[in-house]
Symmetry: C2
Subunit: 222 residues, 2 copies
């Protein structure tokens, strides 16, 4: 198989994906649902941030979570236990969600009863960046023990997001992490990116994150 | 594009990859080079383990490192500083190494002067598991702050490896991590897997890992 043919196949897949992403956005807008796409390495804390967000906002907003994982429903179970309507997508082997998967999941939610939808992508710092889902904003969750070189090594992911959470700041005393070096890398790729250093475990910094969520055009309708 | 066509394309790519992986193995065997494929999430400690391994063994074995990354030569620079011959492969956007990339890199090393080759894959807990490189054994590096649910959520990666390093055990006092639950997941997927809990940072547990490396059929020839 020639490289040219392979590139053509990838382009066809991506362009079909973009069309379906636009359909997803139309569906969400029509239902008045604001949506976020959470992306991160495995174990950076996507699910922990969802738990903390749901616990804090469940009284004010009707939250739904769609969890993408290779296998298990562990993450959806945690989101549901925190108080959200939660739906699990198992991708089989696929390393990212795509607009087809989200398009198949959305009709399984009663969108008229949802204000904010959080889509938790597969834990992966590469592939999810290439696939639009149709969500309104994308959020990258970095974490301190991953190391301060990640923006430099995974530029595609850092370049494309609307907000950055730096989780596990409670571990700063125990691991080498040069915050200046990390932030410098982020600034080169995504100047002025809104950033939230926080710890889902201790709760430090969560208020600023929750304020940001509240500042989004989410319309509580109940 | 139909799903059937897409599946066919993926199968063609994987089978072409396997043929090239077999060629890589033949080349390595002919040169008497034993080779390891290091895989892990971003930030689990692949490069730190390479640094520690190179520093400990550089007097006894001639080590070479081939580093796969989306961008930068940060990892190869670290491996070289530790004392290995180091070569960087930048995959552009690709989320894993494949046998083509390794096949193009191998002729750039003087294999006659190498006893042990460590290939550091792209940081990703999904895609690298699907692509044989032709290396002799594969090693997964997990890390404590990633969380204890990773075997359950990324079964493909845990199923296919020959050894498992559990890095950053120095962080056990600071993060919730149920070692029994983690090990149970590993045991289901890969019964009896050789496992090395260690800390590249403090050096704890490194001796057992280095003993394992020494037990491999690596032939020091200088």
């Amino acid at each position: 198989m020639s490289t040219l043919k392979r590139v053509q196949v990838v382009e066809n897949i991506l362009s079909a994906n973009d069309r379906l992403a636009a359909q997803n956005r139309t569906l969400l807008d029509a239902a008045g649902v604001f949506s976020l796409n959470f992306m991160a390495s495995p174990g950076a804390g996507k699910t922990s941030l969802i738990e903390a967000t749901v616990r804090a906002l469940a009284g004010h907003l009707r939250l739904a979570v769609i969890d993408g994982d290779i296998a298990t429903s562990l993450d959806a179970d945690r989101a549901a236990a925190a108080g959200a309507v939660a739906l699990q997508i198992n991708t089989g082997g696929d390393c990212h969600l795509d607009a087809v998967m989200l398009g198949q999941a959305l009709p399984q939610l009663d969108l008229a009863k949802v204000d904010l939808l959080i889509v938790e992508n597969v834990g992966n710092l590469v592939c999810p960046a290439s696939f639009q889902l149709g969500t309104h904003k994308s959020v990258l969750i970095a974490s301190i023990p991953e190391g301060d070189d990640k923006p430099y090594k995974y530029p595609g992911m850092y370049r494309g997001v609307d907000a950055l959470v730096i989780n596990k700041i409670d571990l700063l005393p125990y691991v080498p992490f040069r915050m200046d070096y990390f932030r410098q890398g982020v600034e080169i790729l995504n100047p002025g990116l809104t950033t939230f250093p926080l710890s889902c475990r201790t709760g430090e910094g969560l208020d600023a994150w929750l304020d940001w969520i509240s500042s989004l055009p989410v319309q509580p309708s109940h």
